[in-house]
């Protein structure tokens, strides 16, 4: 396997890991909110959270391009403090985060919904506040669902293509991920190199889904 293939594989795994780590806190917050709270606009929030699942990733990419581009207020604000997002590794992480967010949030929500609320009520009678209950009871008891969501989100991030190519492009050594690499190598007639990327992608995807299924199975048995 060539040095180029390894470099792309390493970069993709690193970006997907970073995206998964960064997506977990907001996914846990939203998953908990949807599982445990009733509030006006809940259905709207549920719909927005699920949107990247059904929206074409390229369309999501276009939205991100518009949102973080230099002509938008967000892009201008980031530019003012010297942060460039579009066509950098940050755009790779950003698109991976947005695309994997619904999978992680839904899995966290399902994990939290399976926790018997009476444990949380009882912890309150022992003097614990909402944050302590979340940290010491809810999240540990929902940990398998959260871990399964993280693995699922990581797998989705590994294979991310549409949004990534829109906001990060396919710059060799800077933003080229496995999925984007396969596409550009085929486009430029280097099919053999594309096949080795395909093999790495398949192995990584197999490993991640296997771990996710194991976690879900154990959750079902426990």
């Amino acid at each position: 396997m060539s040095a180029e293939t390894w470099a792309i594989a390493r970069f993709t795994v690193l970006m997907a890991s970073l995206a998964t780590l960064l997506v977990l806190p907001p996914a846990i917050a939203i998953g908990w909110l949807l599982a445990r709270r009733t509030f006006p606009g809940k259905t709207l929030l549920e719909t927005i959270v699920s949107l990247p699942l059904v929206l074409p990733p390229v369309a999501t990419g276009l939205l991100l391009l518009w949102l973080f581009g230099r002509r938008s207020p967000v892009g201008q604000a980031l530019d003012a403090i010297g942060i460039d997002v579009i066509f950098t590794w940050k755009a790779v992480v950003l698109s991976m985060m947005v695309i994997s967010f619904p999978l992680v949030a839904r899995s966290v929500r399902a994990g939290i919904e399976q926790v018997d609320r009476r444990y949380e009520d009882l912890a309150a009678t022992l003097g614990a506040g909402s944050l302590r209950i979340l940290r010491t009871i809810t999240l540990p008891l929902a940990s398998r669902g959260i871990a399964a969501g993280a693995v699922l989100g990581f797998s989705r991030a590994l294979g991310e293509f549409g949004a990534t190519i829109m906001v990060a492009g396919a710059i060799p050594g800077r933003t080229r991920t496995l999925a984007v690499g396969i596409y550009t190598l085929v486009e430029t007639g280097r099919e053999e190199a594309a096949w080795s990327l395909l093999l790495v992608s398949a192995l990584l995807a197999f490993g991640a889904i296997y771990v996710s299924n194991r976690l879900v199975d154990q959750k079902g048995r426990s």
């Binding site: 009476r118 009882l122 009678t125 022992l126 010491t136």
Partner: protein, 211 residues
């Protein structure tokens, strides 16, 4: 002795539980058949379930009053609650459970009174029904509650073990000076512990809602 006012109206499925009692007690027994609302009433006192109307006062502290729009959150009520199935946190060991709400330095004396020394490092899944109850009592007592609510603590325990566990409960009351509300549907158990009995039953406290 503690002054109690329990005046609660609570919708429960197709029924409305309506209870009123005011007394000065050491152990108030709540007696009634399954489904008569004993657990719901305890949950209302603990602050887990919100009554539709009424007032709950323990000592001179109003915990709930629909008229005065007072509803003290569960975590500020200082009430020890031991549910029927103990509800020990499965992600913590016995010590972790007992120390969860710790406010007091009574750990050693509670361990001695409830004879828990040998269980401290165990996972809660490895405990028997009676052991779980003792751990749950210790966990509740570590918060220095103004009153301890026990929901059928002997229900999941076989007859022989009951005679072992009841003395632990009596020792807690005597040595830690904590008043109890004790739920049971066993008359003999009630007579051995309660100094006042509040009887719940369809004929007395519940009525069907007629649409």
């Amino acid at each position: 002795m503690i002054d109690l006012l329990i005046d609660v109206r609570l919708r429960q499925g197709e029924f409305v539980l309506s209870v009123r009692d005011e007394a000065s007690v050491e152990v108030l027994g709540l007696f009634g058949p399954s489904g008569s609302g004993k657990t719901s009433l305890l949950e209302a006192i603990a602050g887990i379930r919100r009554p539709d109307a009424g007032e709950i006062r323990i000592g001179d502290r109003i915990l709930f009053s629909s008229a005065k729009t007072i509803d003290v959150p569960a975590r500020e009520r200082h009430i020890g609650y031991v549910p029927q199935d103990a509800l020990l946190f499965p992600n913590l060991d016995v010590t972790g459970n007992i120390r969860y709400g710790a406010k007091s330095a009574d750990f050693e004396s509670l361990i001695a009174i409830l004879d828990l020394q040998a269980l401290l490092d165990r996972r809660v899944g490895m405990l028997s029904g009676g052991e779980k109850q003792r751990v749950a009592i210790a966990r509740a007592m570590m918060t220095r509650p103004s009153i301890l609510l026990l929901d059928e603590p002997l229900a999941g325990v076989d007859r022989e073990r009951r005679e072992v566990i009841l003395p632990y409960i009596l020792r807690i009351r005597k040595e830690m000076h904590v008043p109890l509300i004790y739920v049971t549907h066993d008359e003999a158990e009630l007579n051995s512990i309660a100094d006042r009995v509040l009887r719940l039953g369809p004929q007395i406290t519940q009525r069907s809602i007629t649409a």
